[in-house]
């Protein structure tokens, strides 16, 4: 058996152990107490049939839950509580027998907070890592490193932003982008000529396309840009939108620039008599193939996320254009900005690769 499959199996075993450990972990949580629903069959009663002003029909149901507290000062105590839910589970939650949940105990009355979901994340992470090792073998190491580092930098960026209290958000996220792309590219490729060319192409792609989009926004007076519809706005919603657009564009542009620059670098090395024109043509041909699918990836991510809310607006007899304005227009704008970045990067990545030709002439092509 190949070594990489052995490692993948080890990851699976260790991961399953960690998943179980997380599932049963009770004392690592300080904020809320962990409780176990002790019922084998939860008593679930029908309360009433509801019909709202929009003609939607739903039910109200009540579950009677017997809880044993597993952690915190009330450890070992038993409570009986009830949980009201609507089967559509938009804002309410139906609980299951023998499930572990979080409760907040105040005045000797438990209030249900959340189901315990952390172990699902550990399980899926295990599966993803094991699969990554068995598909890519040794190459999984830089991939996983860049993944972890991206999360770490992202965490740092958020911490810093909260410290700065959202002042000059655009400048802040612009510099975060510069650091993000440098570190990410350096891990996967190492600091060398090719990596620096990719980095420059990435930055040009992100900032010039963003500049063009910003100019367009100013020219059209930001009409129908409803920043206030952005969810979870804890600071200037316009600033948040700009920062989200900058971050969302970066990954795709970086990946695309890497693809094009690496291939053209290979081409310059293997074809001694290549002319600038052939190089530009190859770059364009590659870009044409990549850009469509890459834009689709981002569109699906940006738009799908808003669908639950869109469906709700539509369900409540809003017109399509009203629902679009409230829930999708910001995501759609973000998608278009990202798409413009992806298209322009074809030009910048190819243009920057011309530098390899000059380097070869001087005789210092690495």
């Amino acid at each position: 058996m190949k070594k990489k499959y052995l490692i993948a199996i080890i990851i699976l075993l260790v991961g399953s152990g960690l998943t179980l450990a997380t599932y049963f972990a009770t004392h690592i949580y300080q904020r809320d107490s962990v409780a176990l629903i002790t019922d084998h069959q939860i008593k679930d009663t029908f309360v009433q049939r509801d019909k709202d002003v929009y003609g939607n029909v739903d039910q109200t149901r009540r579950q009677i839950l017997h809880l044993t507290i597993l952690s915190g000062p009330q450890r070992g105590k038993k409570y009986v509580t009830s949980n009201v839910y609507y089967p559509s589970q938009l804002v309410s939650q139906k609980y299951r027998p023998r499930q572990r949940i979080f409760v907040d105990i105040k005045k000797n009355q438990p209030a249900i907070v959340n189901p315990k979901r952390d172990w699902v994340l550990v399980l899926m992470l295990t599966l993803t890592l094991a699969l990554m090792v068995s598909v890519t073998g040794k190459k999984a190491i830089p991939l996983i490193c860049s993944l972890v580092l991206s999360w770490v930098i992202f965490y740092g960026v958020i911490l810093a932003d909260v410290k700065l209290n959202g002042t000059s958000m655009f400048l802040f996220f612009a510099s975060a982008n510069i650091i993000f792309s440098f570190v990410s590219l350096a891990i996967v490729q190492g600091v060398n000529q090719k990596m620096l060319v990719t980095w420059v192409a990435t930055l040009l792609g992100v900032f010039i396309s963003f500049g063009i989009c910003y100019a367009m926004m100013k020219l059209t007076g930001e009409t129908e840009m409803r920043y206030e519809t952005g969810d979870y706005a804890t600071q200037d919603p316009r600033g948040i939108f700009m920062a989200q657009a900058l971050l969302g564009i970066l990954g795709a542009v970086m990946d695309e620039a890497t693809d094009i620059v690496s291939s053209l670098h290979e081409l310059v090395k293997t074809t001694p008599d290549i002319t600038p024109l052939t190089l530009i043509k190859s770059g364009r041909a590659m870009g044409q193939e990549i850009m469509g699918p890459l834009i689709n990836v981002l569109v699906l991510i940006f738009i799908s996320g808003a669908l639950p809310e869109t469906i709700l607006y539509l369900r409540d007899n809003n017109t399509l254009s009203a629902a679009f304005g409230f829930t999708l227009s910001l995501g759609a704008t973000q998608s278009v900005i990202a798409a413009i970045g992806i298209v322009l990067t074809v030009i910048f990545a190819t243009g920057c690769s011309l530098w390899f030709l000059r380097a070869r002439k001087r005789g210092d092509l690495v």
Partner: protein
């Protein structure tokens, strides 16, 4: 003209200049893809069976992305078969995992969003969450399938005599690049999509334990992993399908 419309016009012009005919086709692929997604939302809101919609729209969206976005028939056919098999597999995984994660519906800010909206829409939000997760990962799966197929076929054209074993080995190398490409796109796409949510967690002093159990965070993290798993499965499967397809046609030609 609204800003969105103006930006779309700029995008159409740029895609035509940079991409030529392929660019125009890609533009329409993206446009149709977006409209399909909005159509799904509309149909679900009318109360049409969500499972049925998923079954219809997964192949439909793959066709839009793959057949409109590429111009080589062989690349398209092979990518489509691979992407469809992987999508079905990932969908089954999503069904199981979403059942245990119980992360459907709107997040902690729901109260503010829901002013004037129904809290009992009479639709199954757990099933809607499954649909959203499936559609989010489709793009990454299709992209990986197209990149693998076109990379391998280009290699085969350059070296017509290449053996199946050598082709599979090259498939591994190309596959690593394809995975690397998908990784950042998915991750930063998600960061860009949910920056405000993460800021919200911090400003409201959520502890790490709370965030890791919070509905929306769990949902987003799971979608990133579904997409990654989709890409990881697509790479070897596309290689196998393509190499087998090539060997079969060669045997036929020899006879």
């Amino acid at each position: 003209m609204s800003t969105l419309a103006a930006l779309i016009v700029v995008l159409a012009i740029l895609m035509t200049i940079v991409g030529g005919e392929t660019g125009i086709r890609s533009f329409f692929s993206v446009l149709i893809n977006t409209l399909l997604l909005i159509l799904v939302a509309l149909l679900i809101s009318w109360g049409i069976n969500i499972e049925l919609l998923i079954l219809i729209f997964i192949p439909l969206k793959l066709v839009t992305i793959i057949f409109l976005g590429t111009h080589n028939g062989r690349v398209a056919k092979n990518s489509f078969v691979a992407a469809l098999i992987v999508s079905v597999t990932v969908s089954l995984l999503i069904l199981v995992v979403q059942y245990f994660a119980q992360a459907a519906g709107l997040g902690p800010e729901a109260g503010e969003v829901l002013v004037g909206l129904s809290q009992m829409p009479g639709l199954s939000y757990p099933m809607i969450a499954v649909a959203v997760a499936m559609f989010s990962s489709l793009g990454a799966i299709a992209e990986a399938a197209v990149a693998m197929s076109s990379g391998l076929l280009a290699l085969k054209r350059a070296q017509p005599g290449i053996s199946a074993v050598a082709l599979k080995r090259s498939g591994n190398r190309i596959g690593t690049d394809v995975i690397g490409t998908a990784l950042n796109t998915i991750l930063f796409g998600m960061f860009g999509s949910f920056l405000s949510l993460f800021l919200w967690y911090f400003r409201l002093n959520y502890s790490i334990g709370q965030v890791l159990n919070e509905k929306l965070f769990v949902n987003e993290a799971l979608i990133i992993m579904y997409s990654l798993i989709g890409v990881l499965l697509t790479v070897p499967l596309t290689t196998i399908l393509l190499v087998e397809g090539i060997t079969k046609t060669e045997v036929k030609n020899e006879k």
